[in-house]
Symmetry: C3
Subunit: 323 residues, 3 copies
Amino acid sequence: DETEESKQEISPKEDAVETVSAEEKDPEVIGAHKNLNDAAVPLEMERKGSDVYIKMTSQITDIEIEKGYNYKAWTFNGEAPGPLVVVNEGDTIHFTLENLDPAIPHSMDFHAVHTAPDKGFADVMPNEEGTFTYQASKPGVFMYHCGTDPVLSHIANGMHGVIIVQPNDGYPTDDEVDREYAIIQNEWYRYNDLDDMTNGVPSQVVFSTKALDEGQPNTNGTVTAVKNEPLLAKVGDKVRLFVNNVGPNEVSSFHVVGTIFDDVYIDGNPANHMEGMQTVMLPASGGAVVEFTVKEEGVYPFVTHQFNHATKGAVGYIKVTAD
Amino acid sequence: DETEESKQEISPKEDAVETVSAEEKDPEVIGAHKNLNDAAVPLEMERKGSDVYIKMTSQITDIEIEKGYNYKAWTFNGEAPGPLVVVNEGDTIHFTLENLDPAIPHSMDFHAVHTAPDKGFADVMPNEEGTFTYQASKPGVFMYHCGTDPVLSHIANGMHGVIIVQPNDGYPTDDEVDREYAIIQNEWYRYNDLDDMTNGVPSQVVFSTKALDEGQPNTNGTVTAVKNEPLLAKVGDKVRLFVNNVGPNEVSSFHVVGTIFDDVYIDGNPANHMEGMQTVMLPASGGAVVEFTVKEEGVYPFVTHQFNHATKGAVGYIKVTAD
Amino acid sequence: DETEESKQEISPKEDAVETVSAEEKDPEVIGAHKNLNDAAVPLEMERKGSDVYIKMTSQITDIEIEKGYNYKAWTFNGEAPGPLVVVNEGDTIHFTLENLDPAIPHSMDFHAVHTAPDKGFADVMPNEEGTFTYQASKPGVFMYHCGTDPVLSHIANGMHGVIIVQPNDGYPTDDEVDREYAIIQNEWYRYNDLDDMTNGVPSQVVFSTKALDEGQPNTNGTVTAVKNEPLLAKVGDKVRLFVNNVGPNEVSSFHVVGTIFDDVYIDGNPANHMEGMQTVMLPASGGAVVEFTVKEEGVYPFVTHQFNHATKGAVGYIKVTAD
Ligand SMILES: [Cu+2]
Ligand SMILES: [Cu+2]
Ligand SMILES: [Cu+2]
Ligand SMILES: [Cu+2]
Ligand SMILES: [Cu+2]
Ligand SMILES: [Cu+2]
Ligand code: NA
Ligand code: NA
Ligand code: NA
Ligand code: NA
Ligand code: NA
Ligand code: NA
Ligand SMILES: [Zn+2]
Ligand SMILES: [Zn+2]
Ligand SMILES: [Zn+2]
Ligand SMILES: [Zn+2]
Ligand SMILES: [Zn+2]
Ligand SMILES: [Zn+2]
Ligand SMILES: [Zn+2]
Ligand SMILES: [Zn+2]
Ligand SMILES: [Zn+2]
């Protein structure tokens, strides 16, 4: 009939997106957050045998994505990406989320664990805390993120990070490796604008590095973070990077200029070994361990070779000096 | 010279797209289809030894992508994605396409077979039928689709599906698996709008499930299909999903919340074994077998972790109950 | 404070992109290039043992991307993609770049080598030449490209190509292969428009083929290049393609219609063997060796199965004739 046919002619896009919960800038949440800028609260972590007790916060904290441009991020512990978590294969994680956000619930979804999501990744209400227990049974470089609806808003506003689960038997190439760093790729969109997050292109695509050991740099995801303070290595080193592309939307073509990956472990699992790769394909939320040798003094950039994203910020530096 | 230089200043994009056959909403085809809404015709399949006789239709049928929004899809057998086809490695397929569309030709391109495309995947004219013979010589989770020009219109309007070719020697993990389901990801664009299909972003990204066994759900690709009627499993089950991302345009970062893939077979070939993956990268038309264990009662969503697409509908549920 | 908060409301996107060096059409460079259309200068290559002496040019040359549409490309040697380079694993490359562009510097970044990028891939000034030495220590199908800032402009304007490093021990399937071809996928954007390159969608996505042996076709990346002059094979042949997706921005879902890849070597490394694949995921700058059998006479198209890109030109043909 006329009515039904004419519906075919009208674009469903806007309605469609609304139906599945996209919304534009949310004035209520923006208003509730506008005077917040909480200082970063350090991650708490304590081990008793293979039981690991981790406490994190969800909090609203400004992140300076570009010089002079502060993004009022939704964060874990005041960092975006959130703090690096490192545990061992087989550990039991006792995780507490303290939600310091007075306005909306948040939650934690660790890709490293087995749990029923509606229970183990449940929402924690504003000004409350929740504790959850689960096991990290597989080694790898896993994403974590807030899983509260609308998930895209929570991830894109900054609630993402990485948990490394160290393999009990190590990697076959452990003996060859001289230095290790952790690198994360993420995108930024217009502030709290779910329509831009859903239908737009990223405003910035960035790298951050998170300290694996004391003394290593630990940064947020900004357009200059790993340029201003490069990763360091010595001539002849085999460097290992733990990388994850936390998205929320784009895939990554991870590449280090001036070298080739001798060894790659897809998602960081020792069983998924590849060799001699110029570039590693990372799905959204995908990880890898990549290893490469730097043979001369100089500066080696790493990029996503999707160069529109490199142009938007996704470049970092490794500075190699003589022994 | 002046003329040639000025050509450089003018965008070639619109012309370029026209040249390679993109067009906007096609009023002739839309007009010819507008009163059609054929009831789904069941797939016919008969086996004689390793000869399999399959008959499918091409037909115009409304698919309710979202509540109240009907898309006048170009379909195989009135489903979009079309019916699941399951054969054995080494089978000879005798395939008949009955084209019930009075307006335009359609065809069938099975990724599972070896054939000369200009013969084996040839167009079948309106109101005619065509029969083709070829072999399914490799195991896997393969896409099929209409290959009639403009191919993007035929796929994006709904003419896609999956053919599983079962490996003669099975998968190494067959003994561990308790349940199997088939899952397909596809995108929808503005109705029959080749310009949106070519240059736009999807209106919806969706999952469907297709019955592998009697009693399993069998759905179209809609924003709620595998939410309203979740896949079922029991605590402790190892679940196997046969997945394919039929596109037409987007890649997929396939992930199940609350678990990790114990075993993955890329494109469904037993030789391509990976382990311990959080997320599997599926190219457009790529498949995989993924297996994971669900250890607690609850609801486990699966998504493409490209979260703009999840926001547009690409979420399904697995409901896990106690034994 | 009021000022800082209101900044949150203003889109950072345009500023952000500027900060990280995107700019719109650059009138100075366009002006300097507008009367240039240098004839292609052949690649020079000479071997002395495992020392290989390669000389290439950077030059401005029109490429007819579509019939009647000339793009004033920034090229290596007047081709876009540039000439195919083939060396052996372990070779030392002595590379000279002669920059025939009077306006801007160019450079060379071979993904096949180990070098400090700020030295080995350094800029060569207009009308100058530079010589660099490095080793090709890993086998594979590697991208090369200009690495001069802004890199996206230099790649997207045409400065990309492929270097194959042949494995010393060959591929396990060498004995089965009857024919070999090299195929490259690249995108084109609006002429020298870094904003379109950064935020737009490609105007054209194309394939080219580069001659591995004398007598084979050698084309630029145009919408008809590998259609007008198809690759040739005989019934029963196992065909090997060396493929690379040089981007600059998009990933590729490489597929040959009518067959299945018997064997795939990711990034062209013999260690990264996969089997029975319908489609291979290529990151931006990713390569592969893919092998397949053509069993019947006819025309077999190859595509990226991201069909919006196929619609924009990314289709080539393999013509198979009887013995
Ligand atoms: Cu949150
Ligand atoms: Cu997740
Ligand atoms: Cu069709
Ligand atoms: Cu296909
Ligand atoms: Cu250049
Ligand atoms: Cu590069
Ligand atoms: Na944006
Ligand atoms: Na070393
Ligand atoms: Na759309
Ligand atoms: Na079980
Ligand atoms: Na464009
Ligand atoms: Na042969
Ligand atoms: Zn809205
Ligand atoms: Zn190396
Ligand atoms: Zn190795
Ligand atoms: Zn038009
Ligand atoms: Zn598991
Ligand atoms: Zn296994
Ligand atoms: Zn500008
Ligand atoms: Zn085959
Ligand atoms: Zn093989």
